[in-house]
C-alpha cells in the first residue's frame, strides 16, 4: 500500500475500499476476541473457511474475523448477513450445515439460535436479543464491523475521517472546545473532565509533550478496555492523534497489559499499518502535524494503572506513584507535560469530532455524558460487555440486559469500580449509573466492572478478597497502604475464620479511615472502600460471622462443613471415588458419610454428585 500524502488520497482510497466492501453482500462475521477464542472460535473459523473453499464459495462470501462483540458467554458467536442471523455456541462441525443450509438455501438452523434464558424462546435476529436490544452501543457496535488487523476495514467504515477533519479544519483550541462542550469525562475511574486535562497540558509551555493511552486495565472483573483496544485499535490511535494535535504532543505511548496478548498484537499491527499509510510519522496528510506511537507492555502491577506510576514504569523503572502536587499534565513522562487518558476515553474522541459535541452530550445525565461500557459479570444469566447511556439504572443493567439471577438464587448486590469501588445492595439498584450517584452511595463507576452477587456470595469474603488483592498489589512505598491494608486483612481473616470479636468492627472502621486519608496515591486512598461499603450495607453478615460463627452464604471455609443428605444419598460411590482426600466413607448402596477432619472442602464431591445429595451446612 502506498503512503497517503494528503486528504484527497485518503478520500480516494476510502471510496475504493467502500465500493469493494459494498460489492460483497454475503458476510459471515465471527468473533475472534479473547472470550470467544477461549471457547475455541479459531477452530470454527478454520472449519467455516474450509467448507466455503470446498463449496467453491471462497470468493463470494466474506469471512470477517472481528474483535469482541461483548456477548462472551454465548461464544463462539457468528452473525450472518444478509439477515442479521445470530448463531451461538458454535462448534467446528456446524460449519457444513451453516454453509449448505443457511448460506445456500436460506434455512435458519434452529439448534444454533440463541435461547432467551428468561422466556426460553429462540431468537433469530441479533438486534432482537434482549441483551443487545436494551443497549446503546456507540463504541462496541463498531467492533462487529471490522477486522481489527485491517486498516482497510477501518478506513472503509469512515476511519481516520475525524483526523482528516481535525487537520484540515480545526485548530487545537477548537478541538478542546468541542471536547469541553461534549462533557466527556475520563473513563478510567476518576471521571476527570478530559478537556480540562487537555487545556492544562496545552497551556503548559514546552516543545516536548506526550500523550499516553492507559490500557493497563488492572481492575479484576473489568475488560472493556481490552475489548475496545483488541477489537478496534485504529479507533484508539485516531483518538490519540487528535488529542496529540490538541495538546501539542509529538509522541504517544500505549501502555498495555501483557496479560492481554491479543490486544498487544492488534495494536502493534495497527501502529505498523498507520505508519505504512503515513497516518503516523512526519507531516501527516500534508499537515504540519508529526506524531508517532510506541507500544509498551505492562509488567503486571496493578499500581501501574495509576497515572504517575504508569509514567515511571514507561521510563523503565519500578512503578511507584509519586505525590501529585504538580499534575502530570505539567510534569509527567520524563518531566514533560503529558496527557494520559484511558482507552475508552480516547475511543470517544473521533466520534465527538465527527458528530459534534451536542450529539455526544445528548446521552447521559447532567454531569456524566455519553455512553459507558460496563463489564457485567458474576452470578447473572447474561454476562458480557454492556454499553449504555450514562444514567441508566443498575436495575436496568442487571435485570433487563443481564436477565437477572442464575439458578433462582436471589441477587443481593453488585460490586462496581473494582478494588477501589464498593458493594451496593439491591435496594440501591434504582440509582442512575453516573459518576456522582455511585460515589455518593459509597462506590464508584471506576473503569466499569459490575460484578453481580447473589445469596451464595458472602460479603465478608468479598471484602477479604479485595483486601487480599490490594495487599498483594500495594507497591509498598507509603506506610498507611502497606501496613494498613495488612492489618485490615488480619482482622477480616479473623472474622472469616471464626476468631472475630465485636470490638474489631470499630477498629476496622478506624483503620479504614486512616488508610483512606493518609495514603499517597489513589490505590491506597480508595482501598478501604470494599470494606466500608460492605460494613455499611451488610452489617448483619459481619455480625453472623462474629457472634454466631456462621457464614450465611456458606462460603467461608472455616465456618462451613459439607454434609451428605441421608434422604438423597443412594450410595452410588461416585463421590467416594472422586474425593481426592479420601474423606468420604461408605459401602456400596449404603449412605455415605464425610469425615470432617479429613475434608478439605474442595467442592469436587458436590460437583460430581448427580443426586444433589451433598450440601454446605
Amino acid at each position: 500500500m502506498s503512503k497517503l500524502n494528503n486528504i484527497s488520497d485518503l478520500n480516494a482510497i476510502r471510496k475504493r475500499l467502500r465500493s469493494r466492501r459494498d460489492s460483497i453482500s454475503t458476510v459471515i462475521t465471527i468473533c475472534g476476541g479473547t472470550g470467544c477464542q477461549a471457547s475455541r472460535s479459531q477452530d470454527v473459523i478454520d472449519a467455516v473457511r474450509k467448507e466455503l473453499k470446498k463449496q467453491k464459495l471462497g470468493r463470494k462470501v466474506l469471512v470477517r474475523v472481528t474483535g469482541c462483540h461483548g456477548f462472551c458467554e454465548q461464544g463462539p458467536i457468528m452473525v450472518l448477513e444478509p439477515g442479521n442471523i445470530f448463531y451461538c455456541h458454535l462448534k467446528p462441525e456446524d460449519a457444513s450445515d451453516i454453509v449448505t443450509k443457511t448460506l445456500l438455501k436460506g434455512e435458519v438452523i434452529e439448534r444454533l439460535l440463541y435461547t432467551d434464558p428468561v422466556t426460553s424462546q429462540k431468537i433469530q435476529i441479533e438486534t432482537e436479543i434482549p441483551f443487545y436490544r436494551a443497549q446503546d452501543r456507540q463504541l462496541l457496535a463498531q467492533n462487529r464491523q471490522l477486522d481489527p488487523c485491517s486498516i482497510e476495514d477501518y478506513l472503509a467504515i469512515g476511519g481516520y475521517s475525524a483526523l482528516a477533519k481535525t487537520l484540515a479544519e480545526l485548530t487545537p483550541e477548537a478541538i478542546i472546545e468541542k471536547i469541553k462542550a461534549s462533557g466527556l469525562r475520563g473513563r478510567g475511574g476518576g471521571g476527570y473532565p478530559t478537556a480540562r486535562k487537555w487545556t492544562e497540558c496545552r497551556d503548559t509551555p514546552g516543545d516536548e509533550k506526550y500523550v499516553i493511552c492507559n490500557a493497563d486495565e488492572g481492575d479484576p472483573g473489568a475488560y472493556m478496555d481490552r475489548s475496545v483496544l483488541e477489537g478496534n485499535p485504529h479507533l484508539i490511535l485516531e483518538g490519540m492523534m487528535i488529542g496529540a494535535w490538541a495538546v501539542g504532543a509529538q509522541q504517544g505511548y500505549v501502555y498495555v497489559r501483557n496479560e492481554y496478548p491479543l490486544a498487544v498484537k492488534h495494536v502493534r499491527i495497527a501502529v505498523q499499518q498507520a505508519r505504512e499509510f503515513g497516518l503516523l510519522g512526519e507531516h501527516i496528510l500534508d499537515s504540519n502535524f508529526s506524531f508517532d506511537v510506541e507500544i509498551a507492555r505492562g509488567g503486571g502491577a496493578f499500581v501501574c494503572g495509576e497515572s504517575t506510576a504508569l509514567m515511571v514504569s514507561l521510563e523503565g523503572k519500578v512503578g511507584e506513584p509519586r505525590p501529585k502536587d504538580v499534575h502530570t499534565v505539567k510534569d509527567g513522562l520524563w518531566h514533560k507535560p503529558t496527557t494520559l487518558n484511558n482507552v475508552e476515553t480516547w475511543a470517544n474522541v473521533p466520534s465527538i469530532i465527527l458528530n459534534g459535541a451536542s450529539w455526544f452530550a445528548a446521552r447521559g445525565t447532567k454531569d456524566s455524558k455519553g455512553t459507558k461500557i460496563f463489564a457485567l459479570t458474576g452470578r447473572i444469566k447474561n454476562t458480557g460487555l454492556v454499553e449504555v447511556a450514562m444514567g441508566t439504572s443498575l436495575r436496568n443493567i442487571v435485570f433487563d440486559i443481564g436477565g437477572g439471577a442464575t439458578d433462582g438464587v436471589g441477587i443481593k448486590a453488585v460490586q462496581t469500580g473494582g478494588p477501589s469501588g464498593g458493594c451496593l445492595p439491591i435496594d440501591k439498584f434504582d440509582l442512575p449509573v453516573d459518576f456522582e450517584a455511585l460515589y455518593e452511595a459509597g462506590s464508584m463507576i471506576g473503569s466499569g466492572g459490575i460484578v453481580v452477587m447473589d445469596e451464595k456470595t458472602c460479603m465478608v469474603d468479598v471484602a477479604k478478597y479485595f483486601l487480599t488483592f490490594l495487599q498483594d498489589e500495594s507497591c509498598g512505598k507509603c506506610v498507611p497502604c502497606r501496613l494498613g491494608i495488612d492489618r485490615m486483612l488480619e482482622i477480616i481473616t479473623d472474622i472469616t475464620e471464626g476468631r472475630g470479636r465485636p470490638e474489631q468492627i470499630d477498629l476496622l472502621k478506624e483503620l479504614a479511615e486512616t488508610v483512606a486519608h493518609t495514603s499517597l496515591c489513589g490505590l491506597g486512598k480508595t482501598a478501604p472502600n470494599p470494606v466500608l461499603s460492605t460494613l455499611r450495607y451488610f452489617p448483619e453478615e459481619y455480625e453472623a460471622h462474629i457472634n454466631e460463627k456462621r457464614c450465611p452464604a456458606g462460603v467461608c471455609q472455616a465456618l462451613i462443613k459439607y454434609e451428605i443428605d441421608d434422604e438423597k444419598c443412594k450410595g452410588c460411590g461416585i463421590c467416594l471415588d472422586a474425593c481426592p482426600h479420601d474423606a468420604i466413607k461408605g459401602e456400596k448402596k449404603e449412605i455415605h458419610t464425610i469425615d470432617q477432619d479429613t475434608c478439605q472442602k474442595c467442592g469436587i464431591c458436590i460437583e460430581e454428585c448427580k443426586l444433589d445429595a451433598i450440601s454446605v451446612a
Binding site: 479473547t34 472470550g35 477464542q37 477461549a38 471457547s39 462472551c72 458467554e73 461464544g75 486495565e217 488492572g218 481492575d219 479484576p220 472483573g221 473489568a222 475488560y223 481490552r226 475489548s227 497489559r257 501483557n258 496479560e259 492481554y260 509498551a296 507492555r297 505492562g298 509488567g299 503486571g300 502491577a301 496493578f302 514504569s313 521510563e315 523503565g316 523503572k317 519500578v318 512503578g319 463489564a375 457485567l376 459479570t377 458474576g378 452470578r379 454476562t383 458480557g384 473494582g418 466492572g449 460484578v451 453481580v452 452477587m453 456470595t457 468479598v462 478478597y465 488483592f469 498489589e473 507497591c475 481426592p580 482426600h581 478439605q600 472442602k601 474442595c602 467442592g603 469436587i604 460437583e607
Partner: protein, 163 residues
C-alpha cells in the same frame, strides 16, 4: 545461554534505560524466566545499574527469577471468577501437586501461578493451561486436566527411557 537471542532482544535498544521493562519482557518470553546472567548483560548494555535491573525484575509480576516448569497453570483470581468459586482452584492444585501459586513442582513438570484478571470475565472461572484458555473451570475439571497431563508426561518418560 544462547548469546544470539539476547543479542537480538537488545538490538536497537542499547543505551536506552527506558527500554528495561520491554527488554525483560522479551527475556522472560524467550527463556521462561530472567536468568542472573541475562540481568548482568542487560544492565551493561542498557546502562542501568544491576541493582536497578534486579529491583525491576523482582517488582513486576510478569517476571520470574527462577525457571518455570514444563507446564504452566495460570489461575485467574479476578472478582468475576472469584464469585463463581475460583478460590477452590488454588486449593485443588495445592492438594494435588503440593505447590502454591508462584512455585514449581519438584519434578519440574508444573508451575502454578495466580493472575489478577485475564479479561475474559464472562467465562469464569478461567484457567490458562499452557496458553490454552479453559473456561467455567471447576476443581474436578482442573484435577482431570492435571492428571491427564501427568500421565502423558510419564508415558513420554517411559518411552524415552525405553529408547
Amino acid at each position: 545461554m544462547p548469546e544470539t537471542t539476547l543479542e537480538s532482544i537488545l538490538e536497537g535498544r542499547r543505551s536506552q534505560p527506558h527500554q528495561l521493562i520491554e527488554v525483560l519482557q522479551d527475556v522472560q518470553e524467550c527463556y521462561g524466566y530472567i536468568p542472573e546472567e541475562a540481568m548482568k548483560v542487560v544492565a551493561e548494555e542498557l546502562g542501568v545499574p544491576l541493582m536497578e535491573v534486579y529491583r525491576v525484575a523482582s517488582f513486576y509480576r510478569a517476571f520470574s527469577l527462577t525457571p518455570r516448569g514444563k507446564n504452566m497453570i495460570t489461575i485467574c483470581m479476578g472478582t468475576a471468577c472469584h464469585v463463581r468459586g475460583a478460590k477452590l482452584l488454588p486449593n485443588q492444585v495445592h492438594g494435588q501437586l503440593g505447590v502454591s501459586a508462584g512455585n514449581t513442582t519438584e519434578d519440574g513438570l508444573f508451575t502454578v501461578e495466580n493472575v489478577n484478571c485475564l479479561g475474559a470475565c464472562a467465562l469464569g472461572p478461567l484457567v490458562v493451561f499452557n496458553e490454552t484458555y479453559h473456561h467455567h473451570t471447576t476443581p474436578g475439571k482442573l484435577r482431570a486436566l492435571i492428571d491427564s497431563t501427568r500421565e502423558k508426561e510419564m508415558e513420554e518418560t517411559t518411552y524415552e527411557q525405553a529408547q
